[in-house]
């Protein structure tokens, strides 16, 4: 029986963890199988959750979030017969699959859309916890914005420095207000549960927002420009499908293999014009083919398009 462990922020953050849950559920619906799951209440519980599932014979065990990296590195060797998969972190153990995403590529696409939709030429970015991973989102986004309109302003804020930043809608909302007052008319929230507050305030104040990880367009129909899809669901779905035969090693999911992308559905079709779609799809193809490279913040911890 496979197991899934959600990171702080919880299964129903409408974003990152919920995407993982979606993948697991899809697997369960299709195969009729069942899976174990649990949510973290605090940092200190990670190890217990991992061990508990390993002890009870769950296999494979999938966890979402870089924060599991350290404990997984400790726990995995104790259970050599169990396969683990971790999202967003590389753990070099023989029985671990590490799934990482090219978030900068997807963010680049939504950055282009933001720039095209903006009337003030000022767009915002609200990140969750201030870590290189989130800067990677921001950097890709800013590059996309600048690609469309080189003079545009990108305002980037982070919610916090601890995991609490993933679940702080109040702060998300305040930061959104701040960005609005600075002229932003599109904000991109890459902040897990905090994003709920960002999208809410953006909708209340009548500006556009961009969701992240899951497709969040439905949250405020007609007011969410698009969502940067990070197919955590696919990662989980595949891991579950592979079962105990799960191949270990590093898996990179990018535009080329459908790991990231942007969402287009009935909720935002009126916001995305044909031109916008054409421009983005063209860039997407170029990136996928390798013709064009989006700078990855984590490769050198710097960003050409935005400063933090």
């Amino acid at each position: 029986e496979p197991a899934l462990i959600f990171d702080l922020g919880g299964k129903f953050d409408k974003s990152f963890n919920e995407a993982a849950f979606g993948g697991a559920k899809r697997w369960a619906d299709e195969t009729g199988g069942s899976f174990l799951e649990t949510e973290m209440q605090s940092e200190a519980q990670r190890e217990q959750a991992l061990r508990r599932f390993a002890e009870s014979g769950a296999n494979p065990i999938v966890m979402t979030g870089f924060a599991f990296g350290d404990v997984l590195n400790q726990v995995a060797p104790d259970y050599p017969d169990t396969k683990f998969a971790i999202v967003d972190m590389v753990v070099e153990q023989p029985n671990v699959r590490s799934v990482v995403f090219n978030e900068h590529e997807g963010s680049y696409l939504v950055g282009m859309l933001a720039a095209m939709a903006s009337e003030t030429d000022t767009v915002g970015f609200i990140g969750g916890m201030d870590i290189p991973l989130i800067r990677k989102f921001a950097c890709g986004y800013a590059q996309g914005v600048k690609a469309v309109s080189p003079d545009a302003t990108v305002i980037a804020n982070m919610t916090g420095t601890t995991p609490a930043a993933w679940n702080d809608p109040v702060r998300g909302s305040e930061l959104t207000n701040a960005q609005i007052s600075q002229g932003a008319d599109v904000v991109y929230a890459a902040a897990g549960g905090t994003g709920v507050g960002v999208l809410q305030t953006a909708a209340d104040e009548g500006i556009l927002s961009i969701g992240v990880d899951s497709n969040q367009n439905y949250l405020h129909p007609g007011q969410v420009l698009t969502s940067m899809m990070k197919r955590v669901d696919n990662a989980v779905y595949e891991a579950f499908s592979d079962g105990t035969d799960l191949e270990t090693g590093i898996y990179v999911m990018g535009l080329a293999n459908g790991g990231v992308g942007y969402a287009l559905d009935e909720y935002n079709e009126e916001l995305i014009t044909e031109e916008m779609k054409a421009a983005v799809d063209e860039a997407s193809a170029k990136i996928a083919s390798g013709e064009m490279v989006v700078h990855d913040y984590m490769s050198d911890e710097s960003c050409p398009a935005v400063s933090f």
Binding site: Q41, A44, Q48, A67, G69, D70, Q74, I131, T161
Partner: protein, 364 residues
């Protein structure tokens, strides 16, 4: 005459409160559409049904012994130390500093210094509220609450800005070196041919916690200091009359209390996580209040209550894993225990006293 025999006071009342709390919790479980009997079975199975379960139960119990003793010692001096949480956090900082920045040859030596550091940091964090209470009469409950928040912000700062290793995204310290890892119960029992779960985090700290229970018992009931603490706790004017300095007692009892709370860190930080993470205390400081109330501030009572809460904690985690009952159920139980043994005490006591009084009249 006493209204009630002593045993009723120390055994019957906590027991009745516990049963009431259990009953109310069962109602809650029923209300959310689960079966309380099955839930209890699951809790028992998950926490006591295997050495793995026991390992976690005892691990948590170790935490609660330290924080429970901390609250109990302060109670004896009639101080209510709500600050166990913050003191335990600071204790964690002390342990991390000792373990990370000194190359220890062996865990035994490291442990001695880790105990000293955790106790010193915890005591330090209790010292300011204690001083303000002793010298300026600032209400210790309020100041210790404030100090919990300050501790949390301070630790946050330390982990995010100071102690986080370069390149790590986690607000946590590095792993401690192998040499300072405490032996787990598994390793301790192996020489005796006993197979205890390898995965369970219960470790040598349990021995320290039990020792602490014994030492606190000796301190409170057998030493002059304990005599003075108890005397002060019963009557401040009395203490003054007997030449017991209230200032000294407040300071010492709070320092001991803070030190005990801080010492919890040898279990969760040094013994289990082997690094310092955010919120490593997980509310154990508050559970200590429930444990001390339930255990009637007596070290043996604290020992038993800590194991009970260890069971609840581990059982609750199991419930959350296998059923739809969230982990918060144990927060509810814990709240009920605190309410019933600490605040609604008289609700249980009054009818009991009447009962005993009428029984005595019946005999006479």
């Amino acid at each position: 005459m006493d209204k009630m025999p002593h045993w009723a006071d120390v055994i019957l009342i906590p027991l009745i409160s516990l049963i009431l709390a259990a009953f109310l919790s069962a109602l809650v479980i029923l209300a959310i559409g689960e079966n309380p009997v099955e839930a209890l079975q699951l809790m028992v199975q998950g926490s006591l049904g295997s050495t793995y379960g026991w390992g976690y139960t005892l691990y948590y119990a170790t935490n609660f012994m330290f924080t429970g003793l901390a609250v109990a010692v302060a109670f004896h001096a009639r101080m209510f130390n709500i600050g166990g949480e913050g003191q335990a956090m600071l204790g964690g900082l002390g342990v991390a500093l000792v373990c990370l920045y000194v190359p220890w040859p062996h865990w035994t030596i490291a442990l001695v210094f880790a105990i000293a550091a955790s106790a010193a940091f915890g005591a330090l964090w209790a010292m300011i509220p204690a001083y303000l209470q002793a010298a300026r009469g600032s209400h210790i409950v309020i100041t210790t609450i404030m100090f919990n928040f300050i501790a949390s912000a301070f630790l946050n700062y330390m982990l995010v800005n100071v102690m986080r290793p370069a390149g790590s995204m986690d607000p946590a310290t590095e792993r401690f070196p192998e040499a300072v890892n405490l032996p787990t119960l598994h390793e301790m029992l192996l020489p005796f041919g006993i197979q205890f779960s390898k995965a369970a985090p219960v470790n040598f700290s349990l021995v320290i916690a039990i020792l602490a229970c014994i030492l606190v018992w000796v301190l409170i009931w057998r030493t002059r200091l304990g005599y003075e603490i108890r005397a002060y706790g019963h009557s401040e004017p009395g203490a003054l009359y007997a030449g017991i300095s209230p200032f000294k007692i407040i300071m010492i009892s709070m320092l001991i209390s803070g030190g005990l709370a801080g010492m919890m860190a040898i279990n969760n930080v040094m013994g289990e996580a082997e690094r310092l993470v955010l919120n490593a205390t997980e509310g154990a400081g508050f559970i200590g209040i429930a444990v001390a109330l339930m255990g009637r501030s007596h070290p043996f009572g604290v020992f038993l209550a800590a194991i009970l809460f260890g069971f609840l904690y581990q059982g609750g985690a199991e419930l959350a894993l296998w059923t739809n009952i969230p982990r918060e159920l144990i927060v509810v139980i814990q709240a009920l225990v605190i309410m019933l043994t600490g605040a609604l005490d008289n609700m249980v006591r009054m009818p009991l006293e009447k009962l005993f009084l009428s029984m005595r009249k019946g005999r006479a």
